[in-house]
């Protein structure tokens, strides 16, 4: 009888050890450490051949596939941060109607799915977030083309995508190609105070992105 109790105590002891010893990786991360910054680009493009850019004056919010255009303080901070990073890289900001070489869009993406999301779906409907006609680059009727699909991870919250479009060669190729993209994911990304630091991460890891 006594030994039976001891075996139970043994099992209890080992079980207690099992659960108490493990370190939870997620609880050991700060918000800054939780974030990931992913960039991708078309390596066949020479970014020095582009000189001017235009940027959207609002943000497309893609919420479980539903799209709306919004502009809050945080959105503005992100747009301004992208603007100044591109200017630091030597590109000149021009108005939408002034034949920019590059178009830049900032998109907020929300998905409440707890499973795996494939961000290639994001580009599949790109034309509905950033209608080529409404957007005013003057290339209505062209579809978008993007070769990117992000690696898949389980989703905890939203993401911010910054996309750079080749407007210069759109007429020649009959499509508006996404030639650079940056994606920010993690805790506390929608924050005006840290917007410029976050955008800087995307550009710092893309040294090829320069007009000179």
């Amino acid at each position: 009888m006594k030994s039976k109790n001891l075996i139970w105590l043994f099992i209890l002891a080992i079980a207690a050890t099992f659960t108490s010893c493990s370190k939870d990786p997620l609880s050991d991360l700060t918000a800054e450490e939780s974030r990931i910054y992913i960039t991708d680009h078309d390596s066949t493009k020479d970014f020095k051949t582009f000189q001017t850019f235009s940027i959207s004056d609002s943000v497309a919010v893609v919420n479980n596939g539903q799209v709306s255009k919004q502009l809050n303080e945080t959105d503005l901070a992100f747009i301004n941060a992208v603007k100044s990073e591109l200017q630091n890289k030597g590109y000149t900001l021009v108005a939408k109607g002034a034949n920019p070489d590059l178009g830049v869009n900032v998109t907020r993406i929300y998905n409440t799915s707890t499973g795996i999301i494939n961000y290639s779906n994001y580009y599949d409907s790109y034309g509905s977030y950033w209608d080529p006609y409404d957007y005013g680059y003057g290339y209505g009727g062209y579809g978008y083309y993007s070769p990117y699909s992000y690696a898949t991870y389980s989703v905890k919250e939203g993401a911010i995508s910054v996309d750079m479009l080749d407007i210069k060669n759109a007429a020649a190729s009959n499509k508006i190609e996404v030639i650079w993209t940056g994606l920010i994911r993690g805790s506390g990304i929608f924050n005006a105070a840290t917007a410029s630091a976050q955008v800087k991460m995307l550009f710092d890891q893309s040294p090829y992105l320069t007009s000179k």
Partner: protein, 210 residues
Amino acid sequence: MKNKISIYLTVFAACFISMSASAQNKLKMELSYNVSAPLGSFKNDYIGKTSFRGGTGELTYTINPKFSVGLNTGYQNYYQKYGRQLYKLEGNQVVSAVLTNSMDIIPVLLRGTFYPLADNATAKVLPYVSAGAGVNLVNYGQYLGEFGGTESSGVFAAQAGAGILVPFGQRSKQTGVKLGATYNYASYNHNEISTLNNVGINAGIVFGLR
């Protein structure tokens, strides 16, 4: 965490106090705290840090004073966080992230132990060597920032060990303190890791059950 440790210690103490006083128990129990240092690819490619979060337990059957066999199990958690760095993904994709690697190992081994001096009545310290083989239940975890997950598997494992047993008081009570080291081999190949080999140092108690 602290609470669980105190539960564990209470249970541990209860085991210790209630141990049987009958002479020459055939069935014994061993509980040890274990520190483990990864080796080779496990250390170089995944987690370099020594793990102080682990323990083992063994139910031991004494065949004769010199030989015993036991069912050995335990738990060890390895963990390391690497500062923000750039990593290449597929194609031209680059990700800036804080990388966290974790590894849980639960060994389930059949282990034999040999005490060469066990029939020497005057020996105050009993050296031993041990060898075991079985399965490691492995839980691999990798996170880029807060994104990632774990994958579990079971792999072949083998162990060689050596150390000393210091019996308390009368040898016949079969209670003592055990100090030792183990070399642990596990055939594991997953992503960047090609081995789970590690060296463990353990300290614990042994007591008779019946």
